[in-house]
């Protein structure tokens, strides 16, 4: 079985890789490209820990094949900060103690970023339903929602 050659863009950089037909984008990111920021919590698209943005749309990268990345634009947690400058969501998550163990945090940050790019002034209900695909077992979501609300406010005022 020969590998497939893929050319894509990840966090603004041109990237080329080889992958098998049955490898997911998550497998490629973690095992081929060493980008372990996206996590595998379930492998079946139920937990959102692998959330990435593909052509502007937040997806579970465990449900996208590596080969499907061809010609697309991929954004991962590794590209969220601008060099040393954290994204407001990243800053607010720390400030609001919106993470405990932190393993779900990359997925939440990527999904929240996609939310605020779509809807800069979401209500609490809109935030909760948008993030319903991201599981957190540590926080009960309270501080996560507050962090997103605060980041949204800061980004609107900027």
């Amino acid at each position: 079985m020969s590998a497939i050659a893929v050319s894509t863009t990840i966090n603004g950089d041109d990237v080329e890789f080889l992958c098998n037909s049955d490898e997911t984008l998550l497998d490629v990111l973690r095992d081929r490209l060493g980008m372990t920021g996206s996590k595998e919590g379930c492998g079946t698209g139920d937990c959102g820990a692998c959330s990435t943005i593909v052509d502007g749309r937040v997806v579970c990268s465990c449900l996208v094949l590596g080969a499907e990345a061809e010609g697309r634009s991929i954004e991962t947690i590794e590209g969220m900060a601008d060099g040393a400058a954290l994204h407001p969501l990243q800053t607010k998550f720390i400030e609001h103690a919106a993470l405990q163990c932190g393993v779900c945090t990359p997925g939440f940050l990527v999904a929240s970023k996609a939310l605020l790019e779509t809807n800069p002034d979401p209500s609490e209900e809109e935030i909760r339903f948008w993030l319903a695909g991201n599981l957190c077992r540590c926080t009960g979501y309270d501080k996560i929602v507050r962090a997103v609300q605060d980041a949204a406010r800061e980004m609107r005022e900027a």
Partner: protein
Amino acid sequence: MGFDPSYQDRKFNAVGTRPKRPDGIDKVTGRARYGADFNMPGQLVARVLRSPHAHARITSIDTSRAEALKGVKAVVTAADMPDLTGGKRSAFAILSNCMARDKVFYDGHAVAAVAAIDARTARAALKLIDVTYDVLPHVVDVDAAMAADAPLLHDNVFTRGVDPRPETSSNVAARSEFGHGDVAAGFAAAEVVVERTYKTEQTHQGYIEPHACVASVNPDGTAELWVCTQGHFVFRQTCADLLGMDVSKLRVTSSEIGGGFGGKTHVWAEPVALALSRKAGRPVKLVMSRDEVFRASGPTSATSIDVRIGATSDGRITAADATLRYSSGPWADAWAETGAMTSFACYDLENVRTVGLEVLVNRPKSAAYRAPSAPMAAFAVESAVDELATRLGMDPVEFRIRNAASEGTRSSYGPVYGPIGIGPTLEAAQAHAHMQAPLGENQGRGMACGFWFNFGGQTCTDLNVNADGTVTLAVGTVDVGGARASLSLVAAEELGIAYDRVKAVVADTATLGYNDMTDGSRGTFSSSMATISAARNAIRVMRERAAMTWGIPVEDVVWEDGHARARTPGQGNQSLSIKDIAAKSGNTGGPIAGHSELVADGAGVSFATHICDVEVDPETGATRVVRYTVIQDAGKAVHPDYVEGQYQGGAAQGIGWALNEEYIYGADGRLQNPGFLDYRVPVCSDLPMIDTQILEIPNPNHPYGVRGVGETSIVPPLAAVANAVSNAAGVRLAHIPMSPPRILAALDQKG
């Protein structure tokens, strides 16, 4: 060790504030490395072959075709993991659970494992392992397992704790009994009696990070293990013992951990990874899939509990009796015993009796889940207490206050209580605004109280003062959710320096002495005690250095606000900062450090009361949590944000347990929902904001009064939610989880 752990009332500068945690940036950028984020050159990928049967004898295993597959470097079975346990029952259970010996006891029980050059080859190799099974009848329900004609898991289980010893083997591994007084007389004196049987289904801790490790065993017997764990020192000992390895040659490094809640205090596949690496002579990476986590790690017990409580018409409980049946999986443990101990612990009772029965079933080996065994017992008792209060026409909080335990009460499990906080949390609940909020249509309110022990344990800390006056704090308790921030605050407080001048790290087993695992709500409690002790030792060293510099006795040097100050008349008001002293340390005796190795013991308990409002849709049986409040005693909240986080997280897990989470088995004994789609944990849209109130009743056995807080918050929610749902629906729900079908059935029965 000369360290006095008793409470010292003081005003705090750093402790009690809410700074940013030191490991925050790594975690929000994806740089933090968890169990599966680590790789070693030349590593192999492991996969485990698991039983598709709930109960079967293994008649043969032939691994030859798998071993012959190109790319496969090692295959192991129980033959590669001989029994070195020397008859120790609990160790043998762990060994047998890691790899089945002659029988498989649950769907998912490991039978063999392979290590290959990639995942694809490993998966193909599993298909080439030929196992023949003699399938046996199985039993998965805790009550069915006790029936006279139940299939037996073992033929040599004669219930311990029963006199005379039973002559026939059964699935009841042990019986324990607690209590005092005369329950028969107590019930005779009661004017109202509530009696009911409650059931709770099996749940999983549900951590988002599956178990993962990289094991590397060298030909000379030295080995390394990178693993997500709640206790790297415990894992080291267990793995070394099971595999006959020299513990001093095994170095275990704890990765960042993506949730544990007790499920990562036990080994599952780690010994298998080490066995594979030993056989292959190469590093082996083993990551469990989510399916495997559900089927083959350690969910909590399923239970069936009978409760009977009697009271006089003026609201005094005269007798309380409970029989608790807990499933422990294929091997005996002490889950029912612990449940029996905690059942009535909140109350002051003259006549009480609890009996616990450990029941064996064809399910995975039960493990600890955040205040293990207490939530189920509290569900049953707090539901019955609520029913009793209602029958008496009394307010549920007032009824509990009237019967609450306090200092000097003889607990239902034996010892007399010292100072405890059950009264204050109940009083705070009574006064809380949540209690006055109006309820809408189809809404109901419920409350419940609960507690859990806090443990101390062996704890080591190294505090090193760097040449620039900053401080590095090396601890051995795994940080599950913010402890490094709290410990940095404690070090900053003791030394009188700024929080951001302290850096806390979790050391590995080769660089620090033994530390007990992070369980029993002990992380901040015990490590903070060791940190205080280490800081005071470092301060002693720095006073000596200052004394040396000034040529005065060390007794004339005091430490204040991060400075050594001279108090000798004639020496004026000399002062040296920690930075000054550290910069000169090369000439005053070398690097400056404080160490502490202590046993943090005599920790107390932490009580909580929860209030819950729900709305139940009478057409669908769906329940929405509308409002939730946690009131819990923290002793002293070192970092209030993270104390609140523990309260909210425990409550959320309890809500999931109460409303949706359960293991569902088919008639074939196979787990039907080993994934997050059908094992339904609370999602963001299920919950409201969770309000918290931190009470601070100092723990007399800690210098700052700190109590452990991590577990108690999962104890009250099952009953708080059940009481709320029962009030909303107008019918008592006694079977957890109260999923829509169960609520609809109860509504139908009501009429």
